[in-house]
């Protein structure tokens, strides 16, 4: 979302998802406003990614998901993608497309079927590449990039759609510590710029450092919600993960400077 585009709030109520006849998400609700980063937390298999995909309109669900004024499941695919951008953990792309071509795919909903690319599209792609720190990769072949680099390109592809809502599935899962910090800082910056960001996070410390509010999901149910500092606290963590939370643990990281480590 570049300057001039309005934000959109996400309101999911009693979302239920059944996969292969098994209910994997029970009546989950969530509210996220522009400028906010909301974390979906929980053990593996809890239903975090399922909830995220339901909000993205990629899975059939019961209940309702509103993005701005619109119910997601009632929108045509193009209209939905103009409002909500989804970034998978890994892309299934195996073809030899360049980074620039991959990011251009994000403009699909804005481009016509004929002819070349409009100036507006070219600008949006450029802006997305720069914002996601992927502009140095543009000529490279996507499949030959490291996981961290691919993650930046996938984010750029999502940004190119100019959608006000960003849904990210474990964006830091496969990154090293420097890449991870850079990604989290970028997510924060995007929200500060007016995006509504909902992000599945594996690492509770990451969630505490970056997100405003959090939902803790266990076996398909939301068991805890609120400001992240309250959700990621001793009691809920012990109940859900069966581990003790140690406040002020001795090892922590922060970027050494704004341009550091080549991860920017």
């Amino acid at each position: 979302m570049r300057d001039g585009n309005g934000g959109a709030a996400v309101r999911a109520d009693d979302v239920t998802v059944a996969l292969d006849g098994r209910t994997v998400l029970h009546k989950a609700s969530l509210h996220a406003d522009p400028g906010e980063v909301v974390a979906l937390l929980g053990p593996n298999g809890a239903g975090k990614s399922t909830f995220l995909k339901a909000i993205a309109g990629l899975l059939p669900y019961g209940g309702s998901v509103f993005v701005g004024e619109n119910e997601v499941s009632s929108l045509a695919p193009r209209q939905r993608a103009k409002r909500v951008a989804y970034v998978p953990q890994r892309s299934l792309l195996r073809s030899t497309l360049s980074v620039e071509e991959v990011v251009a795919l994000g403009r699909y909903v804005h481009a016509g079927s004929f002819g070349g690319m409009s100036n507006e599209c070219a600008e949006a792609i450029e802006h997305a590449l720069v914002t996601a720190h992927a502009d140095g990769l543009r000529e490279r072949i996507f499949t030959q990039l490291s996981v961290g680099e691919q993650q930046r390109v996938l984010l750029a592809r999502a940004l190119a759609s100019d959608a006000p809502v960003l849904l990210l599935d474990e964006p830091t899962a496969a990154l090293d510590v420097g890449e991870g910090l850079a990604a989290l800082r970028l997510i924060r910056k995007l929200a500060d710029g007016g995006h509504t960001v909902i992000v599945v996070v594996h690492d509770l410390a990451d969630a505490r450092s970056t997100t405003d509010r959090a939902l803790l999901i266990q076996e398909g149910r939301v068991v805890e919600r609120g400001p992240t500092s309250e959700v990621v606290s001793a009691d809920p963590v012990r109940r859900v993960y069966g581990v003790e939370l140690i406040e002020n643990a001795r090892i922590g990281f922060e970027s050494s400077d704004e341009g550091g480590q080549g991860h920017r």
């Binding site: 695919p77 993608a81 998978p88 892309s91 299934l92 071509e101 699909y108 592809r157």
Partner: protein, 326 residues
Amino acid sequence: MSRLLYPVLFALLLAASALAVLVGVGDLGDANLRQTFLALRGYRLASAFLAGAALAVGGVVVQGLFRNPLASPSVLGTTAGASLGGQLALFGFALTGGVSSVIVPEMIVPLGCFAGALVSLAVLLVFLRVTQDLLALLLTGFVLSALFLSLSAFVISMAQETWELGRAVVAFSLGSVSGAGPRQLLFALPLLFTGLLACWFWGRSLDLLLSGEEEAQAMGADVPTIRWWAATWVSVLVASAVSVGGNVGFVGLVVPHMLRPFAGTKHQRLIPAAALAGGVFLVACDIIARVIPSKSEIPLGVVTGLIGAPLFLMLLIRLRKEHAYA
């Protein structure tokens, strides 16, 4: 290199066309027969180019549609389906009397080919919902191909009861660009152009499918609609190819793979190049078929098979090594 792609392709087209007119049985020095020979070779050149263009673009599109680099209209059984459809159309045409002066077999055959091709792709698209496994798709294609070929044999034996019908069905199913005349070309050409344009039009949507169904959907693609339209236009292309050239294999596999290093992967860039290169490729194969010394002329499918089959195996081995598309 990619900037030279079109000049090189056009130069190859010119060279191949010149050879295709100059080489072959018959003496151009005979003033009485020169015109006839030239006309026959001209039709043959046009048919080979048309079939090659259609099959190559069909290959590009099915490879994107199924996210499978080993897919092609012949590998997936689409050409066999089209061939069977064409035979059934001929058969039905004869059974219903075939007396109507308006409908000629040249019109009915492409329709039958289209229906046969679409049925074969529809089976695979339904299959795609069950598993996305790459080899399972190819095996299903092989099975479909075998099924259609045995049904074809059945149709041919049924058709033998009437001598003329039998001859027509056999001639069609053997398939050769040498048999096509102006009437076949007249009906196949519009199909080719419509199919090419439509596939190009759907190119951007096909690019999205390369990332898999879920990501494509997230980017705003209406995946089922894209798949069915792509299958429909591939069927149109295959119908145009089969109705003039019969069942020629591997063009749709070989040409896209030869081109991607130069034309890239994006469909709207690959499709026009594939049309041109596919045409040149089949014209060249047809020349080879004519010049290889043999008592009777070698069928075109033999030449494309000799080039295509090793390439298919090579790609299969590479794919297993890379675990690509896993």
